[in-house]
């Protein structure tokens, strides 16, 4: 395999030039755009609150995608699993006001996420159907199903838009720190704790080792006595459960309700977070932080007249450049 070279630098430069050209094309002075970006993501308590809020679902969905990726599976379905989890968490929190709703909701969200990932795991393990295709299909079905739920059975008829009523305060996931406009939710701490648990589990347990072995080389793992099918299905379900929990956190800690088109694409961003983690679970934390800064920064940059779409441009190019350095496939013949 070829190493890093001039072409990687050229690609990175080209990506940078594209972003620069996009900002220049809007006729907003670049210095003003950059300042607004930094102010909106890290300049003061309200900006930090927004960045940490964005970071929470990104750490958790990143964790979900990372786990599946370690088992050699692309879980593109985290978005659908998250949405199903959010709907389930909201349903139970509304049915059981108080802390019971919080706990039952979290469990239900994990179950819903896992159930939504199960078909993809089964199809991959028993039929060899690509998990990317099946999870894309499941995402779309989850989208339509939850739009129907939010507009029909779960809807609060007093509201103009398709949304549920607000959760009981007792079912909220509490904030760790509250001061002025600043908030830091317990959800983010749980997410980072989850990263620590995954790092330990992958390194120190037999199941974690079997999962990595399956991802690295399934036929070698099979020969060594690993039940690759079982690992595939379990990894997919675990990934779905974690993504479902991300949905629960969004409902319990931030939104306090469920509505149609709930996720703005946290599941897809989770794939980017997992890719940029650089192959170590601990890398998920800075990677999620970077994505969160990009998101809150580009939200703020809108005020200067640069459209929010810049976020997608940045994410797409970032993934391209980073993947060109890290996620290359080796050739066996002729290279």
């Amino acid at each position: 395999m070829k190493g890093l070279g001039a072409r990687h630098i050229a690609l990175a430069l080209l990506a940078f030039l594209l972003v620069w050209a996009a900002v220049v094309a809007t006729k907003v002075p670049p210095s003003e755009a950059v300042r607004s970006f930094i102010d909106g993501s890290m300049g003061g308590p309200a900006a930090w609150r927004q960045t940490f809020r964005e970071m929470t679902p990104l750490v958790v969905t990143g964790l979900a995608v990372f786990l599946a990726l370690r088992a050699g599976l692309f879980n593109i379905g985290a978005d659908g699993q998250l949405t199903m989890g959010a709907a389930a968490a909201c349903h139970f929190a509304l049915a059981f006001p108080g802390p019971t709703g919080l706990w039952l909701g979290s469990l239900a969200a994990m179950a819903a996420g896992a159930a939504w990932a199960l078909p993809a795991g089964l199809i991959k393990a028993y039929r060899g159907g690509h998990e990317v295709i099946s999870t894309i299909m499941l995402n779309n079905v989850a989208g339509f199903l939850t739009v129907w739920l939010a507009a029909g059975p779960m809807r609060d008829m007093k509201q103009q838009s398709p949304t549920t009523r607000l959760l009981d305060k007792g079912s909220f996931l509490p904030n760790l720190v509250e001061g002025g406009p600043f908030r830091l939710s317990l959800a983010l701490l749980i997410g980072i704790l989850g990263v620590a648990i995954l790092a330990f589990w992958l390194k120190r347990t037999v199941a974690g080792y079997e999962l990595s072995a399956t991802g690295a080389n399934p036929s070698a793992a099979e020969t060594a006595g690993v039940n690759v099918r079982a690992v595939t299905i379990k990894a997919m379900m675990a990934s779905g459960a974690i993504a479902g929990l991300a949905g629960a956190f969004l409902v319990q800690a931030f939104e306090h309700r469920f509505y149609a088109n709930f996720s703005p694409g946290y599941g897809f961003d989770g794939l980017g977070v997992a890719l940029l983690s650089g192959g170590s679970p601990w890398g998920l934390v800075p990677s999620a932080f970077l994505f969160a800064v990009l998101s809150s920064g580009t939200s703020s940059i809108q005020l200067t007249g640069v459209p929010k779409g810049l976020n997608g441009i940045l994410l797409g190019l970032l993934i391209m450049v980073f993947a060109s350095v890290r996620y290359r496939r080796s050739r066996t013949v002729g290279d």
């Binding site: 299909m137 339509f144 929010k308 994410l315 996620y327 496939r329 066996t332």
Partner: protein, 284 residues
Amino acid sequence: MAIDTGLLVVSTVTLSAPLVLAALGGLTSERSGVMNIGLEGTMLSAACAACFVGLQTQNMWLGLLAAVVVGVVLMQVHGILTQAFGIDQIISGMAINALAAGATSFVNKGFLTLGVTARPVLLPKQFFWIAALAAVFLIGVIMNRTRAGLRLSAVGNDPDKSRQMGVDPIAIRYLALAATGLLCGFSGALIASNAGSFTDNMTAGRGYIALAALIIGGWRPWPTLIACLGFGLIEALQLHLQGTQLAGASVPTEFWTSLPYLVTLIALAGLLGKNRAPAGLGRP
């Protein structure tokens, strides 16, 4: 519950045409071994380009040309990233979709909504119908009757063996991806032309439905056409049946819109015949 059959046929064909074009785009790429979940983003970018240029010049034919150029460029980017840089094909596809969603929304908010009020002259639907049917026929002939088609399948089934036989998989894949870009360009321009203006995420998952039709059609042109017509019929029926009762209970529209995805899951589970995926799909 009366349905006007003639109207139903017309709307089925209208709704299927962009799917057929995009699915065939997916076919040329995937039969050459390049997985392509970037169809959605490529169609969206093409639709945006068609609107932008069509509105600026008041000529939708130039809009179509712009759509094709943008489609081909994006698919060559997919080719360069996956073939020259060796990025995983799924990651590259995802990145293209993210980039396309962001860039089109950026162009729409920043440039499209400013000062343009005139609607462009729409392209005749029949032109796209003929283009779609011609594409199915042409690709069918190329795949089954020509040396080029044989090479395309050979590269898609086993790139290493092709390399040993003196067929360069990389060159063939760039060509196949150019065809993908061309077809997605037509598909995006058709969607833009039908709507008359650009809205964020206006392709609304049609790229994924096209991918689904490709899988159900077993990566073959004519069966893929039939799958697209089936999905088009579902969409048309849904529009016609809106608000009517079926067997005494009203069926939510969300069920109908989910149907293509559900059918694809069933197909992936192997309940609709054997898996015909090209053997070398996703391999470098």
